[in-house]
């Protein structure tokens, strides 16, 4: 029987992935092993779908699990669901490979993305729960600890901190955090920033150029009279002050009007 109130709650008919109430792992042996390859069959899709270009509704699973639906489930259920999803993912990837070898395409390729999305949502819900508990008990979040690091080329990036057995004074493995840049690294960073600045400038000029139109009334070609493009750019700049100023498309050369 279809419960319409339930359908309104979730705006449609969902779901994927079988969610059998498994017992603990030991109970798996109670299954009926018909042949030696029984377990390997779980890597393959239903035989009816072999060689098809499109799946019939009977073999076409529904949408992914949403985070709201997963939040209703206990940790034990989520743990089991993860492995059900993992096995389904393995099966789909095996089938994709099998079709690719035979120069065909997998029917229903959105199934792989559905499973990925379900797993991503599951991980997010588990992280949420851990985060809530850890913040309550320790004050720290469950996110991996991050730190800023300066690479040998002088870029300052945010990286995940690594776990070590000894403090950094003893192990000596700590990466630099914004040191004083010297010599080649200093020059390299200057050149990099100059290049990025020019790229942004050229992009804004291209955008303005594309938006410029010819005036149908006066017949004046705006593009032809555009002074900026009558000369080429300098090829090298020795001072940052000499770089062309950031272009403002609405023509802010005169501050009046």
């Amino acid at each position: 029987m279809v419960n319409k109130a339930v359908i309104n709650l979730i705006s449609g008919r969902p779901l994927i992935l079988l969610f059998k109430q498994f017992g603990p792992v030991q109970q798996c042996t109670s299954r009926n092993f018909a042949s030696k390859t029984y377990l390997l069959n779980e890597f393959f899709d239903h035989e009816h779908t072999f060689g098809k270009t499109e799946l019939t509704p009977k073999f076409r699973p529904g949408r992914a699990w949403t985070q709201e639906e997963l939040r209703l489930k206990s940790n034990s259920d989520l743990h089991k669901l993860w492995y059900v999803l993992l096995k389904e993912r393995n099966m789909l990837l095996t089938m994709k490979e099998a079709y690719q070898i035979r120069n065909r395409s997998l029917p229903g390729p959105e199934r792989i993305d559905n499973v990925k999305e379900s797993m991503k949502n599951l991980e997010a819900v588990v992280h949420e729960r851990n985060d809530a508990y850890l913040r309550l008990e320790t004050g720290d979040s469950a996110d991996p600890p991050m730190r800023t690091v300066t690479t040998p080329l002088g870029f300052t990036i945010n990286q995940q901190a690594k776990e070590h057995y000894e403090p950094w004074e003893i192990s000596g493995e700590k990466e630099y955090a914004t040191p004083y840049l010297e010599g080649d690294v200093y020059l390299f960073q200057k050149l990099w920033k100059e290049k990025e600045h020019m790229k942004a400038e050229i992009e804004s000029y291209d955008k303005e150029w594309a938006e410029m139109k010819t005036d149908p009334n006066t017949g004046i070609e705006e593009k032809r009279d555009y002074a900026l493009f009558q000369r080429s750019f300098r090829r090298t700049y020795n001072r940052l002050d000499h770089l062309p100023k950031t272009f403002k498309p609405n023509g802010s050369e005169t501050s009046d009007s």
Partner: protein, 271 residues
């Protein structure tokens, strides 16, 4: 229910409706082909070099549904051209995109709606919407606003429907009371439980047609065929089994499985 939950406005469910509602977002992005082909990372902190199948700033939404076979072929041809120019160090002029999509909260047209065409040779005629393309604000009406086109492969002249743009008022909803064109807006109903579409002329509700609920999986939610092995029945999905506990996910699983870990954990250092 918390008080803050009650004070909030209800969710605008109509904004989520669409033919591709249950298709994963990532898959739709792949159909657009504006996906990374290869990412060259590990460049000592420099931003990674991304080689695109088709650059995302070149993506311009067409007035056709994204799964249209012609669109898919065109995209693949453009992708090949882009790849060819990149390899030969030539200049590739990207398309510029100036259409602003109407926000989904303000969108009032659905498949199955009765509308009146306001432009062209079918001006004044009533028809039913069969396809809606949100990205370019256009709508296709069944059998109206057509153009005679010649297909070379099949050697046929065919009447092909042209898109009607909502933001340019080329099509308007029909008022249920008198059949005149009208504009619609969304207001909360008397119970404050859901949003309802009313015509601004008469103030009457224009109900959402049943075709609007259609997705790639079903025509209506009731007609969906559950896959035995793969689908979880809806009553099991909505069953609440979570009981909040003061422990981490890992600790809870260990308790359930009977795993005991009495090893002494030495302090570790994060840097």
């Amino acid at each position: 229910m918390r008080l803050t939950g009650l004070l909030k406005f209800p969710r605008r469910k109509y904004a989520e409706l669409g033919h591709l509602r249950h298709i994963p977002h990532e898959y739709i992005e792949k159909l657009k082909r504006a996906v990374p082909k290869k990412v060259y990372g590990n460049r000592f902190g420099a931003p990674p070099l991304i080689r695109w199948a088709l650059p995302p700033d070149d993506y311009v939404p067409q007035s056709k549904p994204i799964y249209d076979s012609n669109i898919v072929n065109e995209t693949i041809q453009r992708e090949k051209r882009y790849h060819h120019t990149v390899l030969n160090h030539k200049f590739f002029e990207k398309r510029s995109h100036t259409v602003n999509a109407i926000p989904r909260d303000n969108w009032t047209f659905f498949p199955g709606d009765k509308v009146q065409v306001m432009v062209g040779k079918d001006k004044g005629r009533h028809g039913t919407v069969h396809t809606v393309v949100h990205e370019t604000n256009c709508v296709y009406v069944e059998g109206l606003h057509t153009k005679l086109e010649y297909e070379e492969i099949l050697k046929l002249h065919r009447l092909k429907e042209q898109p009607l743009f909502v933001d340019k008022n080329q099509v308007q909803l029909v008022d249920p009371i008198d059949g005149e064109p009208c504009t619609a807006e969304w207001i909360l109903n008397s119970d404050q439980t859901e949003y309802v579409r009313i015509s601004q002329r008469s103030g009457l509700e224009i109900p959402i047609p049943k075709s609007a609920l259609r997705t790639t999986e079903y025509y209506t939610p009731e007609t969906y065929i559950e896959v035995d092995d793969k689908d979880t029945p809806h009553n099991i999905v909505l069953k609440k089994t979570y009981k909040p506990k003061l422990c981490t996910f890992e600790q809870d699983i260990m308790e359930e499985q009977g795993i005991e870990d009495d090893r002494e954990h030495k302090p570790t250092y994060w840097y």
